[in-house]
């Protein structure tokens, strides 16, 4: 598998470390630390940390270019064929307010 890095061009996937579903970019925000122990906060973190949509097909996911420029990428990939449909810097995804789910 090759990852089409938006800055560096095609790179061997072995240079990358895989984290998982790009929804991990949306960590629940706790405005008030007093609410940290609330059931709704725990539910939100449980869902964020542990539950996955795990689709068969199009999947947006986080890859870290550890053996390269150490950037985080959001890769769009088909989990049925391993075909890579898109690659962006995670900072760009966050900057434009995109919320992968």
């Amino acid at each position: 598998m090759q990852i089409p890095h938006p800055l560096l061009g095609p790179r061997d996937a072995a240079e990358f470390v895989y984290l998982g579903d790009a929804s991990l970019l949306q960590r629940p925000v706790v405005e008030d630390v007093a609410t940290l122990g609330d059931e709704t906060t725990i539910d939100a973190y449980h869902e964020y940390l542990h539950l996955r949509t795990n689709p068969a097909g199009r999947h947006r996911e986080l890859w870290f270019h550890e053996q390269g420029d150490r950037s985080w990428l959001v890769i769009t990939r088909d989990t049925l064929t391993h075909e890579i449909l898109g690659a962006e810097l995670a900072t760009d995804v966050v900057a434009r307010g995109d919320t992968p789910s």
Binding site: A13, G20, E47, N54
Partner: protein, 416 residues
Amino acid sequence: MRYSAWQVLKQGLTGHTGWEAAFPDPEPQRAYDVIIVGGGGHGLATAWYLASVHGITNVAVLEKGWLGGGNIGRNTTIIRSNYLLPDNEPFYELSLSLWEGLEQDINYNAMVSQRGILNLAHSDAQMDAYARRGNAMHLAGAGGVLLDTEGVRRLTPYLNIDDARFPIKGGLWQERAGTVRHDAVAWGFARAASSRGVDVIQNCEVTAIRREGGRVVGVDTDRGRIDANKVAVCVAGNSGRVMAMAGMRLPIESHVLQAFVSEGLKPVIPGVVTYGAGHFYISQSDKGGLVYGGDIDGYNSYAQRGNLPTVEDVAEGGMSLMPMIGRAKMLRSWGGIMDMSMDGSPYIDRTDVPGLYFNGGWCYGGFKATPGSGYCYAHLIATDTPHQTAGGYRLDRFRTGHPIDERGAGAQPNLH
């Protein structure tokens, strides 16, 4: 027909013309007491124990493909019960003890071969960890012997024992572990369950889980609607897809695990050997091929095939453990899709939907668990309470703060 030495003799003398089909190929009925979704090893074992232990025989097992075509036919056939944590070890020991009596129980030769497993240690810390694990095994009645370097040398003299980087300090040996003819397990359970009246229905894909008033009333399939008050999902690898039909997200990712077989060789490896410094394990099949594997590829996949860097990594692990493997040709490799759970441990549980049960998240340890999983799942379906050895395998254990993290890697499925 009951299989026996007498039958082999009789059929041999009459030209093998009298053998019956091992199990029938029934049409789906309108309704059952229990529908098991997924005709893999675990689903078929569940059907067998529902029938034989709990007397529930109005059961259908729905398989979208053919028996033996999923992970029951794609694994490396190892059975063992060398776990550490109290939520795991008694369960896997139950499973191993069921393997030991399986062939008499289901009257089918599954070629259960207790040839032992050797987990190698390469540091003092690893030896301490294995001593602790061995004690946990003894508490559960699983046995286990801690070997020193010379003990390992007697058992497997050809390993790279005196390697400068990863010297072998010893190992944990479980004599009762071994290998089993994996697809025979599917056929044997299917035949045994069918003989008690269970309908094993192949080429029947579930397309929807039907609910009325919040509870399960059956399924839709590509061969029509089938009613049941209890639907038990058992489709590891595809759990996310199937449970999405009931609107559930799971603490599971699907990953691909590769396995490899060499050309056939004369007997060389006595049991199963696992490499404690890299991730590599190996055994030898009865046909002589070396069967080996390593880590999952590490990214979500439903493709049943992996990538070359993992092949290279596994081959390197093999070369550093037993350099002589470099003289053997790799014959074939394949990939299976694993339910990787958040802590490396499985789920056998009810769901929030009354009548809907879930079994999955077996990571790459599902094969050894086949009879234990079926036994405990049948217990859960029949009694609505978890079996005492499977009490920790709850779907909400991360929400309640009770993960079973055997490897201590945290909520990161591709690290288990």
